[in-house]
Structures are given as structure tokens and as C-alpha cells.
Amino acid sequence: MIIKTLNREESQVAMKEWILNFPALPKIEEDYLKIREDLQEFYKNVKEECNTNNKRDYYIDSHFGILLYDYLWRQSGFSLRVAANDDFWRYLSIKVIPDIIAERWGKENESHYWSRSTRIWLRSIWWYVHLSWQGDMTSTTHLLESPCFSTDSILNLEERSGRKGTFINVYRYIMYYYSHIPKEIIEEFNKKINGREEDLFRIIMKLNTAKVMVVDPALYLGGEREYVRSLFTDAGVRV
């Protein structure tokens, strides 16, 4: 696939065209037409498979996310460098599958299409999967299906990463250990701190933000894995 992009100015124009011509889909080149069809197929299947009304949005975000993740890696020309380029996600959102974004967020929701980097939906679910990756599709899907995760987790993980670049392995271990904590322990923990707008996941994230100021996780004794375990220990939870 030839990587196509839309910058902010082009996005603004393309977004207007999309709304004006709704529900007609933008004209795009052949290879992207194929991508459009494939992604539409994924989305349709995910919606059909989803047999729960409880956490339906999360089901769709995570399952469509993992299919998108795997699919893009199989396209030649796709790379981490592309995944970090917001303008690529803008193109995909406005030109290729604006209908899917419209179904999830409404056809005029600019921030999830292009205008706010951290809210561009496709970017955010792709990186959510990347930061949760456990080596293969099956174990990653299994992890993401853990009942402790919700659309809030996507927000927390995505919005907290950044500043000076993301500790990718640290997030992968956080996701791993968090998903292995029994439900009762998480509930008990959250009850104890009740009253504050907090939960265990956010506390771990905050501890991480503070701790990386003094120690780099890769230099910690035992590396990133032990580093992440120490965050849970600091919060008073054994993993």
C-alpha cells in the first residue's frame, strides 16, 4: 500500500466534503478500495459477533482494533513510523472508512476523525492493541477480553503515553499483570479508595509517571518486568 496522508488543513476540507456528500463514500484509489472493503467486512463481523449490550462499545473497539492492527501490519509499506503519523490515521478515517467512524461516533464528530490527535479513533484503538500486545493475536485478544478493561482503559493508556515517548514494554507488562489480578481484589482495592475519582489502573499509571523520573524501567534490576511488578507492590497489590 502506498502510504497516504491528510494534514490538518486537508483534513478540514475533506471532512466538509464527507459531510456534504453523506452517505456517499469518498472516491479513492484501487488499493485503498480493497482496504475499505476489508475493514468494512471486519467491522460488520465484529458487530454481529457482539452478543452483549453490556460494554458493547469496548467489545467493538477492542475486537475491531485487533483486526485492524493485524491487517495493517500485513500491508507492505506500513511501519511504526507510519503508525506514529497522525496524518495517516486522518486519511484512513476521512477518506477510507468514514462510514465506520460515523457509526461509532457520529458523522460530524471531528475530534474522533481528525482534529484531536489523542482522540482519532483508529489511531487510538491501533495503539491500544500495540501497547497491549502479548506476542500473538490469540493471547492479545484473550488479554483484551479480560473483564477488567473498558473504554476507559483505552483512554487511560493512550492519553497517558506520550510526553517523551512511550515505554512500550512497560505498558505491555502493566496490561499483562493487571489482567491477571482477580476481580475481587480489584473491587476491594477500588472500594478502599472509594470517594476519590480513582481506581487501581489509574493509580498504577500515576505511580509509573512518578517513578520514571528517578529510574528508567529498562535499567531497573530485573528489567521492565520487575519494574512493573514493583509498581503493583507500591500500590499494595501482589502480582
Binding site: R8, L80, A84
Partner: protein, 312 residues
């Protein structure tokens, strides 16, 4: 976020001077068919800190090739780092590493370079590291850091020293490269919105110290407005003063809005740890380099207008 206050001694300019830390410049190259090809770095205009990569043969690009960095280090009188007046216990081992960070790439990492044991030997180290093809984008910052590689047994006089695995004990130097990126484009857009005013500003930031100025601010000029002709540069009716007035008002508004956010404003004024290209960094620049007076609304208004009259 306040400035980081260290709980233990870290390397300072005085210690850095004593250890006679010397390095070669960073050498950048790429590998194609098992052969090395040198790349050049060049300072980006107006910024001694940021360098772009130049391939004189015009072959290399970040999409199609890897890039590697190499650098030699020499440290001689480093014994002062150990013991009660230093930064680590006498029998601890320090490590030198290169920390690379890139928010544009959403990645960061650590490359260990070597160890410093408390001895009399000169230390010569070599760093050589490969970044994969199409791994990185935008700005990448390289910081040489020193850390506790192995803890020691603190004597009574060493109890104030850091003695935990991996603790960061300071930075030796910094180097930044820019693989690609938009220059600093001022975010002015033309829109077409009947029944809306001639112009308006949008500020959509959550964290101004991190989010890009050009991403979360837009100054929108409305083509559908009957007075747009005064802002249309292709028309004879174009009135430069009106454009200046709009820019001034927009910037006053942006600064005032940030000023209302107490914590973020303090961080902005101090200039600590601001993301390159962020709203706060831009405003820090307006205040410190362009010397805009932001003490009161009247002062902001006056100094910004003076600036536009002189510069535009």
C-alpha cells in the same frame, strides 16, 4: 509539573568538569547491502540543538533505510564520582547509557554504553546502535545519562547517596535530530461558514505543556463573511492592519486562556520540561525571546501590537 527535585546528589557542572568527559561527535550512517554509508548532520537554522540528517548522495530516507549511530567516549578522572562527596558509594558501579526519546515516534529506549568502576584506569567506550528502517519519525532526543548499575554497601558517611539499581544520576549531554516534520506553521485556516463572524479562535487543549500549538489552536478566517474581502490577499481591498488586529486579538485570547489555568501557566512561565512545539513552549518563547509583557491584559495588548507593527 514542577521541576524535578532530586532526593540525592546527582552529577552537576562542577563534577562534570572534574571527570574530563570527552566524546567524539555523533557519527550517523546507514547500512545497505552490508556496506556502511555515512550520513551528515546539519544544524537546523535558528536552533543549535536540533540537527537534520543529510545524505549527500540523496539515497537515504527514513522510510527505506535503517540508520545507525556511533560515538566514542573517554572519561579519565572519574574517581570523584564515588564516595561521600560524589554521587555513588565507593564500591558501587555506575553505568553510562544513551537514553533516546521521541514523542513523535511514540517510542523511547535505553542503550547501555559501559560501566564505571572506581579504579584508576582510563575508560574508553564505544556506542554503536542501529535503529530499524521506518521505526522513527519527527524529533528524536539523545541524552547521555549516568545511573547506578550495581549498588554498593554504603559506609556511614555515604548514606545520603543514591543506592538503588537503575537510579538516574544526571545527564552528561544532549543531541537532537529531526527526521521530518512540519516547520512551525502558524495555524490559520480559511473556512466557509455562512452566518458566522469574520473570524474566531479555537483552543482545544487538555495539556498545553504537551499538545502541539499547531494541533490544538486554530485561527479561523471566514470566507463566507461579507467583509472577507479585506482579508483576501489576492484582492486590492486587502487590509494588512486588519489581519494584524486579528492576529493580535487571537494571541491575547490564547495567552489569557492559558493564564486562567494556574498550574499550567506556572509551568509555562518557568519553561520546565515543555514539549517541543507545544502551546506552552510557544508562549514561553513569546514571553522570553520576543519579550512580550504578559503582566496585565493592557500590557499584553500593547506589546503584541508593537511586535506586529515592527515585524510584519
Amino acid at each position: 509539573m514542577a521541576a524535578n527535585i532530586s532526593l540525592f546528589p546527582i552529577i552537576n557542572d562542577e563534577l562534570l568538569g572534574k571527570i574530563r568527559y570527552q566524546t567524539t561527535p555523533y557519527e550517523l550512517y546507514y547500512i545497505n547491502e552490508d556496506q556502511e554509508f555515512l550520513l551528515r548532520t546539519e544544524e537546523i537554522e535558528g536552533s543549535a540543538m536540533i540537527h537534520k540528517i543529510v545524505d549527500d548522495d540523496g539515497i537515504w530516507s527514513p522510510d527505506d533505510f535503517n540508520f545507525c549511530i556511533r560515538r566514542k567516549y573517554n572519561i579519565r578522572t572519574y574517581q570523584c564520582l564515588f564516595g561521600e562527596n560524589g554521587i555513588a558509594c565507593n564500591d558501587a558501579i555506575l553505568g553510562i547509557a544513551l537514553m533516546w526519546t521521541s514523542s513523535d515516534s511514540k517510542q523511547r529506549g535505553i542503550i547501555p554504553i559501559g560501566d564505571i568502576k572506581n579504579s584508576a584506569k582510563d575508560i574508553d567506550l564505544i556506542l554503536n546502535y542501529e535503529f530499524s528502517k521506518a521505526q522513527l519519525r519527527g524529533l528524536i532526543e539523545f541524552t547521555t545519562i549516568i545511573y547506578i548499575k550495581n549498588v554498593g554497601k554504603p559506609s556511614l558517611k555515604e548514606e545520603h547517596l543514591a543506592n538503588e539499581y537503575g537510579y538516574l544520576l544526571g545527564e552528561l549531554d544532549k543531541f537532537t535530530i529531526k527526521l521530518d516534520g512540519e516547520g512551525s506553521v502558524f495555524p490559520i485556516y480559511e473556512i466557509n461558514e455562512p452566518r458566522q463572524p469574520l473570524w474566531y479562535v479555537k483552543c482545544e487543549w487538555d495539556d498545553p505543556t504537551y499538545e502541539k500549538f499547531s494541533d490544538c489552536i486554530s485561527i479561523n478566517i471566514n470566507r463566507a463573511h461579507k467583509n472577507y474581502k479585506f482579508l483576501d490577499k489576492t484582492k486590492r481591498t486587502f487590509n494588512e492592519q486588519l489581519l494584524k488586529e486579528i492576529m493580535s486579538s487571537a494571541l491575547i485570547l490564547i495567552i489569557t486562556k492559558l493564564k486562567e489555568q494556574g498550574n499550567y501557566w506556572d509551568v509555562t512561565i518557568n519553561g520546565d520540561d515543555l514539549q517541543s512545539g507545544s502551546v506552552s513552549e510557544a508562549i514561553y518563547y513569546f514571553i522570553n525571546t520576543l519579550e512580550w509583557d504578559v503582566s496585565t491584559p493592557e500590557a499584553i495588548s500593547l506589546s503584541i501590537r508593537k511586535f506586529f507593527d515592527q515585524r510584519m
